[in-house]
């Protein structure tokens, strides 16, 4: 028997007012696995990702990381975890955002240090060392003292990745991290993600970069209307294209615009 999955999502539901955006989603992610979530806008991909670290509260079902329910003491809809408890749960997941969301008053190094210093309570020197290590890994050691406003979009996003991994998360959540970038800056960011994947980082990636999803992920999940409509290894998913009309339509839009 293999080890239980690191992330277990079961029968997950979530509504915004009258609109149900997640309709019973089941998804397991094993340690070391890279899972990419694709799908049309409004299919619930980003909401799913934001439920995993409880930036969005889910209404029903369950999300477990290492066997622990993420946002609630027992089960969804019950008693929420305390804010302090939630904070320590969230420290086990790292998140990178579409709009970078770097703290504008802190330098690149200080952005990366904040988590190790204040969340992991590391001494100043150790926190700085962690920050330098990760900035070096994303190729930005020379920009440590720069403010976010002095960096290009691609550089800001690489700092964003360094900030997320500096906490040593069990799983990294990437939310359309190249969507706000100029096309020529996309690859420098995706290269960093490829390196992390090669190092065995567990990742859940929401993206519109179909080419990247095909060559970097162990599994692709295709979402429509708040449900998983198809999933499998990149090859297995492509094999389903002829049977799944929505997947075919979705992918055809990309092959029309990309090459």
């Amino acid at each position: 028997m293999s080890a239980p999955p690191l992330l277990q999502i079961a029968r997950l539901t979530k509504s915004f007012g009258m609109i149900q955006v997640l309709k019973s989603v089941d998804l397991d992610v094993a340690a070391g696995e890279v899972v990419t979530v694709i799908g049309p806008s409004g299919s619930g991909k980003t909401t799913l990702l934001r439920c995993v670290n409880f930036l969005e509260a889910y209404d029903g079902g369950s999300i477990k990381i290492d066997g622990r329910e993420v946002g609630y003491v027992d089960s969804a809809g019950g008693k929420k975890r305390s804010e302090v408890d939630l904070a320590s749960m969230r420290a086990e997941t790292g998140m990178v955002f579409q709009s970078f969301n770097l703290f504008p008053h802190l330098t690149a190094e200080e952005n990366v240090m904040l988590g190790p210093r204040r969340v992991l309570k590391k001494p100043l020197n150790e926190a700085r060392e962690i920050a330098r290590h990760w900035l070096d890994r994303v190729g930005l050691a020379h920009k440590a003292k720069s403010l976010p406003s002095e960096l290009s979009g691609g550089q800001q996003q690489r700092v964003g990745i360094a900030r997320a991994v500096a906490l040593g998360p069990k799983i990294l959540l990437l939310d359309e991290i190249t969507s706000a970038l100029d096309p020529e800056l996309v690859n420098e960011v995706l290269d960093v993600v490829r390196q992390l994947a090669a190092d065995g980082m567990t990742m859940m990636i929401v993206t519109h970069e179909i080419g990247f999803a095909r060559d970097a992920s162990d599994r692709i999940v295709f979402m429509t209307d708040g449900t998983i409509s198809a999933q499998g290894s990149p090859d297995a998913l492509m094999a389903q294209v002829s049977d799944n009309e929505r997947l075919r339509n979705f992918l055809s839009r990309f092959s029309a615009t990309t090459h």
């Binding site: 930036l55 904070a87 420290a91 086990e92 998140m95 988590g115 204040r118 969340v119 906490l167």
Partner: protein, 221 residues
């Protein structure tokens, strides 16, 4: 047109203006410091509380903003001690009044600043596992400070000018000094001309200092 400008009497009594200006600046500094403390505390309370606390804070802000400062000064200095058993001098009375007054304006400045902190930054703070207090301390307040600095400068300058109202309860600040000289010399044009220049110079100096801060702390450049 027989009026001859003569500043001799003004220079003779210039210490009244000079020490008046220093007192004006002191009054403004103390009142702004206390007002900023009131404003920041209530603004944080406002954004993190329920309807009842919000309504109380709004009530305070609306009351102060719709009553003239001059009336508040009279109320606190002459009114309050006749109703309740407290005693205080004119300076203390005025600093208290201006603090409460500036507090109400600064609540609004800080509150809109806190609201203007981008949602994504707070999400980023949450996602990395910062507790609510840490998010306030390391993300929300520093970002707010940069957003509010320009409107803070304007509020500071107008509060500095408002110290002239202290003259009505005989606090010997700059305007009171000017009145004192005028009453004794009848050099009305000269004394108010000099006083105006002093207010202008001090105002510009304060503004210059705050602009330096702004440039140092701007969010985007």
């Amino acid at each position: 047109m027989g009026y001859q400008l003569s500043f001799t009497q003004i220079w003779h009594n210039f210490d009244k203006l000079w020490y008046g200006l220093i007192l004006s600046i002191e009054l403004a500094l103390v009142a702004i410091a206390i007002g900023a403390l009131i404003g920041l505390t209530l603004a944080i309370l406002y954004v993190s509380s329920g309807r009842i606390v919000r309504a109380m804070i709004s009530g305070y802000v609306e009351f102060i903003r719709n009553v003239p400062l001059l009336l508040l000064v009279y109320l606190v200095f002459y009114g309050l001690p006749t109703v309740v058993d407290i005693r205080y001098g004119a300076q203390v009375s005025f600093v208290a009044t201006l603090s409460i007054y500036s507090g109400a304006y600064l609540v609004e400045v800080f509150r809109s600043g806190l609201d203007a902190v981008p949602r994504g930054l707070l999400d980023a703070g949450k996602a990395m596992g910062l507790t609510p207090w840490q998010r306030l301390l390391y993300v929300r307040l520093p970002t707010m400070a940069r957003i509010t600095l320009p409107s803070l400068s304007n509020t500071f300058i107008s509060l500095f000018k408002d110290t002239s109202i202290a003259s009505v309860i005989a606090v010997p600040e700059l305007t009171f000094g000017a009145q004192w000289i005028n009453n004794r010399t009848f050099r009305i044009v000269e004394v108010y001309a000099v006083t105006t220049v002093m207010y202008l110079a001090a105002g510009y100096l304060i503004l210059f200092g705050l602009r330096l801060l702004e440039r140092r702390f701007r969010v985007d450049r």
